[in-house]
Symmetry: C2
Amino acid sequence: MTETTGREDSLPVAVRQFVLHWGDMGGQWGVNRSVAQIHALLYLSDRPLNADEIGEKLGIARSNISNSLKELLNWKLIRRVPVMGERREHFEAETDLWQMLTRIAQGRKEREVDPAVAALKTCRAEAENDPRISKVARGRIEAMHDFVTTMDDWHQEMITIPPARLMTLIKMGRKVLTFLPLGRTKPPK
Amino acid sequence: MTETTGREDSLPVAVRQFVLHWGDMGGQWGVNRSVAQIHALLYLSDRPLNADEIGEKLGIARSNISNSLKELLNWKLIRRVPVMGERREHFEAETDLWQMLTRIAQGRKEREVDPAVAALKTCRAEAENDPRISKVARGRIEAMHDFVTTMDDWHQEMITIPPARLMTLIKMGRKVLTFLPLGRTKPPK
DNA sequence: CACGGGTTTCTCTTACTACAGAACTAGCCG
DNA sequence: CGGCTAGTTCTGTAGTAAGAGAAACCCGTG
């Protein structure tokens, strides 16, 4: 049926390793272990899996799986897949790595930087008309705000560029500089 | 003495806001609250501060301050500053935002992506000569590995570009594309 | 309309991390 | 060599988050 003889007691070593690493990799990040593990498993699977199969292979509780799947759906890193003649829901992972990256980037941005930018804005406004605050502090807050805003805009622009082109851009690396009409400043050393 | 009348009971509102926000912003990140708060405070200060002053302004324990400062030093986000005729150590923050960004990026890379890359390498090797693993899984692992490696290399190249130039690059945004000799492929759809 | 598989929500336990305060150590003065 | 002051390490506690298992909830089917 499947290439990995399905219901075998355990997973191939390489897969298990991957799942494990991805798992606590996720831990270091904002994502919790089970979520990351499930994602890893689905990413490597050659067919959609259902909750039971996942639970069996990873040895984690149904409830946990349910919640984790929900979270992964939120991040849009996996999707529901209807399977003919099957009642339970099946899931498969996004396998396009660019998609994956942008989804994750998007998610983290929303959770981490957007609030920060907002907070900075209010701080800046506050600092504007607070006579007690030092010139230096005011300047620093402004600098920070401008910087973050610039980066944010940049990010926004980048994700509108079609992946393929962005990829060539990246593969070029610093060679991009050679095409740009900048004052040919010899990079200092 | 200082511009903010130093030993006043509390901080200017804008500063307090900034510290607070930066603080739990840090919490969302990997950094804990006290560390982020101390960093924020130093970033806004117009002169180096010592541990006592920090403790007083933020109301956190000495031990905590000691550890937090150590961590900030690790990240190279602050530095020790000797002050004439003073026995206690003083600290000031890096105020160049590019520096800050690269330091943070560097730190996170070391902690988050480098280990991941390493793990991926071993997984890939493992998958190479494991007959049990499915073709699909093997392919996915390789794809992931290549992708991550590419991004890693790119990052490495980017940080070698002098900040000023990088900044102009960023300010250009997607305009960079217009200068590049790419086959003017109409983006598909 | 009861029954049963499938899924979600709730609750309780456990593990971990941040942090305060105390105890400890190291340099500097008389 | 005592007595101070600055700094660090240790220890106990409280708050938080992950996750297991049970209970509740659907919804199709006999």
